[in-house]
Symmetry: C2
Subunit: 459 residues, 2 copies
């Protein structure tokens, strides 16, 4: 490279290396495997994982065969579980083993759980002793804990050495492990004392001890801490890496910010997909049969609840038989309750998942949501009553739909707070089941109040 | 500190500094302001922001008054917009100015947009020249672009100097700027050439030039790049910091990983909240009146769509009048269509927001979702037909509900893919409006097919 490359050369050299999905699709469609290979070589493993996840099964298969084998170990851990399984199922055992031996232990711990018993044993036996021991250390911790997420690829230094010694020590590394913003400081027994940033080690006085330059209040987490706690610490404390310690504060390893981003993304996916009865690992490009089975269950559950609502309607056959306007209008009451309750439910589930609900603010929140429900209920009931009156010219029906809707919106507000809080205390994930329970409640109360009031006052 | 602290001392010293929300709530409830202050002092600004966001308005006010003024500039940028406004509205102008002058320019650029014209001018005039110029550089870029997110607090080095010179240069910093994993390498004209990690600068041969040790393929983004692109680069390429350049590749600044986490979190919030017609800045602990207004609009939009469905039902008054079972069963057909379509819609919206939909896979995806809808439609229609037959003992109604439900589930699958893709191409955010449009379609097709077929064959 020249000393002073001209801007044009620079532009050439640093063309944005992200290749759009459409370009790869075109090259695939034209059957030009060499062009596809040239595209793929420009991509980072995380981007290759994204492209694979965005492809239909046959395309995914073709792409995988075009990816250089030495990248497979980097790509597999970045894939969603379902996509990864579908790819591993098509790989030779020897290729899986080759990929596995290249993985970081925390990645391998995740991948190995999906393998068949035979294959996972084969992989374990192929690892060198050090790699296997570190893998077993990871796997000793449950999925979803800090211990499972940590890497043992960590640089620790003693508190009593000088910065000059630390720098000499660092120079022995060909390159520092990824995300090494801080060195972990320990005592002779390996007890975690704090951190010192690489920057501070460089800029500090070489004669100073680590003890003098280190950050004493550095955060840490015990290996049995939850994923949720890990993500919160990274997000709220702006961390790059976090020390993982055992119950005696002995340093075990560290967790890096890429894991935290992964947790945040996965939790967000869960919140978005769960409310539609979908698994967070749901693969939009999965084949038809597994998709039918996974989604069918949810339709079945909803079928039960909607039959329950139909049964409630069935109790009022007489009223429906005499006043046909009731059948026309009843979906309005039920639907508005579902929409209003859904708003409160969504906010409450999010607050629960963020840990924002405490015993003190729950009462305030319930009262506030009740007030919102009541005001919106009265407001929109007046509109509905007016439209109904002009449509059917019957004051009785107009008054009854207004009363039923106000009632249902207040019930919806109360349910929107109460249902997720109760489900959460019962240990049931409100993101999955909250919406079904809520719409069952708002449908039943909607139909019951509207048809019930009509039976009482209009028959 | 002693050379070898015993484990018990260490435990004392490093007690987990995160104070649970409930503890602070208790101290607030007992009116013990000193205890609250002692709690708050242990928390990171990001955690204080979280506690403020989790509190009802009066509590939020009390907490804010107990937070030391010197932390206000760190906390305000971490708050959601609505919460921040509610706090700034209660602050003295001079306190706002004091907090503003302590902020990073990219944070200040975000905060200053919410201030009144008077106050923002007051803030601008209070900044020193350097700070104001850097702020204006940020504000020159639109909200949601890389330029707005970048900080100018970046260390750049020339390619032709040696690593020894770089280390001497670094030692002049009291401490390196946060998230300095890489130094940006430029030529004489300030053109971005690549990066060199601080670690490599330390571990490399001091006699080598930066040019020899630098990472040539380092990624960058132009200042007009979108937030979405920034987040994708950080997530897929595992970055800590990313160079921001102008159209001539001149280095302007850098974006750090905390901004990327913030974007990912904000986008996830948007996806979760938008489907319930809520703004991503929605504050669960906002007072009643603003909440009523923000949510009422959504209820109004839904009211129009549900009246449309009611109007469709009204076209079949004759059928409903003669066969009351139709009124009882019709919500089943509409509801199952809404649930099945909602699953496809959720997956499609997520795929669009991730950029996974391309022209080539759209046809495959549509066919697959149609197949899933058809198989699930036929399967559950048989169940519904059987239940209907045992309930009402009328074969005609059982056959008609099965046909209508199959039809509606196929329509739902098609709509679940088509509606968000079309909305997206029209420039309308499918996360906000997709669900309303979809349920309008599934309600209308559900009622129309069931009541229409019944009118044709049973009257």
């Amino acid at each position: 490279m020249k000393q002073d490359p001209s801007p044009s050369q620079t532009t050439e050299q640093f063309t944005d290396p992200i290749v759009p999905l459409d370009t790869i699709s075109e090259h695939l469609a034209s059957g030009d495997n060499e062009a596809v290979k040239a595209d793929l070589v420009l991509l980072h493993p995380g981007e290759l994982a994204f492209i694979l996840e965005s492809s239909a099964p046959e395309i995914r298969q073709r792409l995988w065969s075009l990816i250089p084998a030495e990248l497979e170990g980097d790509i597999l851990p970045s894939l969603h579980e379902k996509v990864r399984s579908s790819i591993i199922n098509t790989m030779e055992d020897s290729a899986v083993v080759a990929a596995a031996t290249m993985m970081e232990t925390n990645d391998l711990a995740e991948v190995i759980e999906d393998l068949s018993d035979n294959l996972s044993e084969f992989v374990l036996n192929s690892l060198d002793d050090d790699h296997r021991l570190r893998l077993e250390a990871n796997m000793a911790y449950a999925d979803g804990t800090a211990g499972r997420l940590m890497t043992t690829d960590v640089i620790s230094v003693r508190a009593d050495v000088t910065l000059a010694v630390v720098l000499r020590y660092l120079r022995r590394y060909p390159s520092l492990p990824k995300y090494t913003d801080n060195l972990m400081v320990t005592n002779e027994q390996g007890i975690f004392l704090g951190t010192i940033s690489v920057g501070d080690a460089v800029t500090g006085n070489p004669e100073d001890t680590v003890e003098k330059a280190m950050h004493l209040l550095a955060d840490w987490i015990t290996a049995d801490g939850s994923e949720q706690q890990v993500a919160e610490k990274f997000e709220r404390r702006d961390l790059i890496s976090l020390a993982v310690v055992d119950d005696d504060k002995k340093l075990l390893g560290r967790i890096t910010v890429d894991e935290a981003i992964n947790i945040i993304r996965t939790q967000a996916d869960h919140s978005i997909l769960a409310s539609a009865g979908l698994n967070k690992e749901e693969d939009l490009f999965a084949p038809v049969i597994p998709s039918v089975l996974r989604r069918g269950l949810w339709l079945g559950i909803n079928l039960v609840t909607v039959f329950l609502a139909a049964w409630v309607i069935g109790r009022f056959e007489e009223a429906l038989d005499k006043i046909v306007a009731l059948a026309v209008l009843m979906p309005i009451v039920a639907s508005m309750g579902g929409i209003a309750g859904g708003q409160t439910l969504t906010l409450t589930i999010r607050a629960i998942s963020l840990g924002q609900i405490s015993s003190t603010n729950l009462r305030w929140l319930t009262n506030k949501e009740l007030a919102v429900g009541l005001v919106n209920g009265i407001g929109w009931s007046i509109v509905v009553a007016l439209v109904t009156y002009f449509w059917f010219q019957q004051l009785g029906i107009a008054l009854i739909i207004a009363a039923a809707m106000t009632l249902n919106l207040v019930a919806a507000a109360l349910s929107g707070v109460a249902i997720p809080v109760i489900l959460d205390r019962l240990g049931i994930d409100p993101a999955i089941s909250g919406a079904v329970v809520l719409t069952t409640v708002t449908d039943i109360i909607g139909f019951l109040s509207f048809l019930g009031l009509a039976t009482l006052f209009l028959l």
